[in-house]
């Protein structure tokens, strides 16, 4: 997997010819950004958006693999995932609104009912 990060054919001249590694790099960057955002930000909506970003990172890998392996299963799966994500987004935002009404804040630290 390390040679995925530094593939032999990665050259500036070949930018027009996108390799699998480009997609995977983009996906990894998106995923990591989402991850870092999720653990560093306090705002519930931002945190939620960060998880969506992580989602998109994963989705890109699936599409990329599907394209490079000539296998449509990955793409089908992506459509499926997007549908679910849309539904889940509606639900999650609804919850966030409810939570805001309860505490009058979007700070995630305001909720700690599970404290041991």
């Amino acid at each position: 997997m390390l040679d995925v990060l530094q593939p032999a054919g990665l050259q500036l001249a070949a930018l027009s010819q996108l390799a699998l590694s480009h997609f995977l790099m983009t996906a990894a960057i998106l995923f990591t950004l989402g991850l870092v955002g999720f653990v560093t930000r306090k705002n519930l909506i931002v945190m939620f958006l960060c998880t969506e970003m992580m989602f998109q990172g994963v989705v890109i890998t699936l599409v990329a693999f599907a394209m490079f392996h000539n296998n449509v299963t990955g793409q089908t799966f992506v459509i499926f995932v997007l549908t679910v994500a849309a539904a889940e987004a509606a639900l999650a935002l609804g919850l966030v609104v409810l939570m805001f009404r309860r505490r009058r804040t979007l700070d995630a630290n305001a909720w700690a009912a599970m404290q041991g």
Partner: protein
């Protein structure tokens, strides 16, 4: 009519449930008393009905007269009825006439199931199962232990039922007045009605296990009622003492039941009494059968407060006075006498075989207890305590009667004792009520002027207890004393029974003395009294507040009036029952009957002697205590040693405390320490390990969303690294 008698316990049970429900509704508590009275009265009505008209429907739908009342007399004729098939058979084939009604299967242990095809009621064809085979159901069991919930009626049962429901209703009516205004009145009457349920079940049971159910039921009610004033430590301690001492007796009783099953294969009375081991007189018996009466005896001694298990009864007076009258004088404590009388065929057959006859043991324990408790009563200064020890003493008489083979004497005394002792306790309750709880007779005197009705009611009870000629106690006591002498002179008793007869005569003198000592002290002489601190609701009696500080007569209704039948019974029940041979006839028509030697001469002599002794005892009491003289103190001074011992009640309680209670207590403490230091500590150390672990990991569960996020990331990273570098 006899079929209806089976409802007697259940009406009382219904009354108990209703009274119990009234505990929850404070505004309707007043109804508890009338409900309890009505449920017992209904039982009394049914009892009288079945007593006068003991007919029942047999399997052929014919009305049949119960065997103890044939040709209009309460004596066994040559006709008897098989209790199971209800067919009329000859008395020679069936020794113990009895009717067993509604034996419903109740419990079974072991045995093989008997199957029968299920028949469709409409078509009359067998019902087929899914596989086309006829369906089968269990209809019974063969072998093993089978126990029926059935009721057994014979002369003895009828006597007991009449006493329990008759005296019980009078006492319950009195209790309505006595307990008026008490906060726990619904609880009291619930326990009273439950007691009647248990006691009637006890005497109507057709097997030893059902009898044991009633036995434990009355024990429970006794416990609940002694501890009725649960705020008082002494009452709680007395309740526990009664319960624990009775458990010791019950252990013997249980072993006896087990042995009965082992040797007779059943606990049904009709099976036991007709078992060949019991019917064949003079044959060698297995050791187990020999042990049965001795085991049952232990239970009887516990319940009926005989040496060595009598210590609970005097303490049981901590309960309300109607309880002392009903449970601890008239009915429950006679359950032991009933048990021995009921199992008389077994006692009798072992009596013929064993080297030490169980009946001799019963007679000795009874005779010694009678004298022993009588002497304690001589020096007791507790109003109820005197009657409590007197009850122990009179129960001793009953056991002496049983031991002298005079079951009818014992049961006769049981009946008359129920009358006069209930009367004595209730009048003592009136005195206690009037004095707001004072019990020390040394502080009382001349109360006859304040309470004339109570004075003469108690007088009626006192002459009956003392055995003044022609009162109830005179006849019943005489039968027992005469039986002991006859057994000694003409029977197989020997010198031992003559000694016991002498003890009984001495006890008769003591009885007359202590009874009238109490009566003279309380009701004659200078008027003096000290009011106690118990507050009865005086307003209910229609008294002004300033009247509440001095004793007053009880109202006629509902307190003094129910005592009138008891007083009449104490006076004339004896002569009627004796002259018309009622008890004798009924006992003859039951399993309790035994062939005993009888002598007209000895009976006559004993009548004269015991009548003379009763009068002498009263005269002696009069010399010392009539109109408060100082002769009693002088005599006590002279006999300092014996009086000290008697005042200390022979220090039996102290002896038991040193020898049994304290060692047990110390053992308990040591066991507690071992439990705490070794077992508890070890077990707790196992508990500490996970608790410690929890304490360390707990901070990581902060409940914050970020924490969970980081945790998940760390987990995923760890798995990813694992996959990369290790696999």
């Amino acid at each position: 009519m006899l079929e209806n008698a089976v409802y007697i316990p259940w009406i009382a049970a219904l009354g108990a449930v209703l009274c119990g429900a009234l505990c929850l509704t404070p505004s309707m508590k007043k109804l508890a008393g009338p409900i309890c009275v009505l449920s017992i009265l209904a039982g009394f009505g049914l009892t009288v009905g079945s007593f006068l008209n003991p007919t029942f429907e047999n399997d052929q739908q014919q009305q049949v007269q119960a065997p103890w009342k044939t040709h209009g007399t309460y004596a066994l004729d040559d006709v008897a009825i098989d209790p199971h098939s209800h067919e009329v058979i000859h008395a020679d084939d069936y020794k113990h006439p009895a009717v067993v009604i509604q034996p419903q299967p109740w419990m079974h242990v072991g045995g093989t199931a008997v199957y029968e095809e299920v028949i469709d009621k409409k078509s009359g064809h067998p019902v087929l199962g899914r596989d086309g085979q006829p369906l089968e159901q269990i209809v019974g069991y063969e072998g093993g232990l089978q126990i029926n919930y059935g009721y057994y009626f014979d002369g003895l049962t009828m006597i007991m039922l009449l006493v329990i429901t008759g005296i019980g209703s009078l006492i319950a009516i009195y209790a309505v007045g006595y307990m008026k205004g008490d906060p726990g009145v619904a609880r009291f009457f619930a326990a009273m009605a439950l007691f009647i349920f248990a006691m009637t079940t006890l005497v109507m049971a057709d097997n030893l296990v059902l009898l044991f159910l009633g036995w434990e039921g009355v024990g429970l009610c006794s416990y609940l009622l002694i501890g009725y004033y649960y705020g008082k430590d002494s009452a709680v301690a007395a309740a526990k003492k009664a319960f624990i001492v009775n458990r010791i007796g019950d252990f013997g009783f249980l072993i006896g039941i087990f042995l009965c099953y082992q040797h007779f294969g059943s606990t049904d009375f009709s099976v036991i009494f007709n078992h060949e081991l019991v019917t064949t007189k003079g044959a060698a018996l297995p050791l187990g059968v020999m042990a049965i009466p001795f085991c049952l005896m232990v239970g009887a001694f516990g319940k009926s407060a005989q040496i060595p298990l009598f210590v609970w009864l005097p303490d049981a007076m901590a309960g309300p006075t109607p309880v002392s009258a009903l449970v601890h004088a008239a009915t429950m404590v006679t359950a032991g006498v009933y048990l021995v009388a009921r199992m008389m065929p077994v006692f009798d057959v072992v009596h013929l075989q064993a080297t030490i006859s169980p009946l001799t043991v019963v007679a000795v324990v009874g005779g010694v207890t009678a004298l022993f408790a009588g002497t304690i009563a001589l020096c007791s200064n507790d109003l109820k305590g005197v009657f409590a020890y007197s009850t122990v003493s009179q129960l001793g008489y009953m056991f002496l009667g049983l031991g002298a083979l005079s079951t009818h004497g014992a049961v006769f005394h049981l009946v008359t004792h129920a009358f006069f002792k209930a009367l004595l306790f209730l009048t003592a309750g009136s005195v206690m009520h009037a004095l707001a709880g004072t019990l020390d007779i040394r502080t009382m005197g001349g109360l006859g002027r304040k309470m004339p009705v109570t004075k003469w009611l108690m007088f009626a009870g006192c002459i009956a207890l003392a055995g003044v000629p022609f009162t109830a106690g005179f006849y019943s006591k005489d039968v027992i004393i005469a039986a002991a002498w006859t057994q000694g002179i003409y029977g197989d008793g020997g010198t031992l029974y003559i000694v016991l007869g002498l003890l009984a005569l001495i006890t008769a003198l003591l009885t007359a003395f202590y009874t009238f000592r109490l009566w003279f002290i309380v009701f004659t002489g200078e008027t003096k009294y000290e009011m106690g601190d118990e507050h009865h609701s005086e307003d209910d009696h229609g008294h002004d507040d300033h009247h509440a500080h001095e004793p007053h007569e009880m109202p006629w209704w509902p307190m003094n009036l129910p005592l009138i039948p008891l007083a009449i019974g104490s006076a004339v029940a004896g002569v009627l029952l004796y002259e018309y041979h009622v008890i004798e006839g009924l006992i003859k028509a039951s399993s309790a009957y035994t062939d005993a030697a009888y002598s007209e001469t000895i009976t006559m002599i004993m009548k004269i002697v015991s009548g003379f002794l009763a009068v002498a005892g009263i005269a002696l009491a009069g010399v010392f205590y009539y109109k408060t003289s100082d002769r009693a103190e002088k005599a006590a001074e002279l006999l300092k040693g014996p009086v000290g011992i008697l005042r200390g009640k022979y220090f039996i309680d102290e002896f038991y405390d040193r020898v049994i209670v304290r060692p047990l207590f110390i053992t308990g403490q040591v066991a507690y320490l071992i439990d705490q230091l070794v077992i508890h500590a070890t077990i707790m150390s196992f508990g500490w390990a996970p608790r410690l672990l929890g304490k360390t990991v707990q901070p990581t569960q902060a409940g914050k969303l970020h924490g969970y996020g980081l945790g998940m990331i760390a987990g995923v990273t760890a798995v990813a690294l694992l996959l990369l570098f290790l696999l």
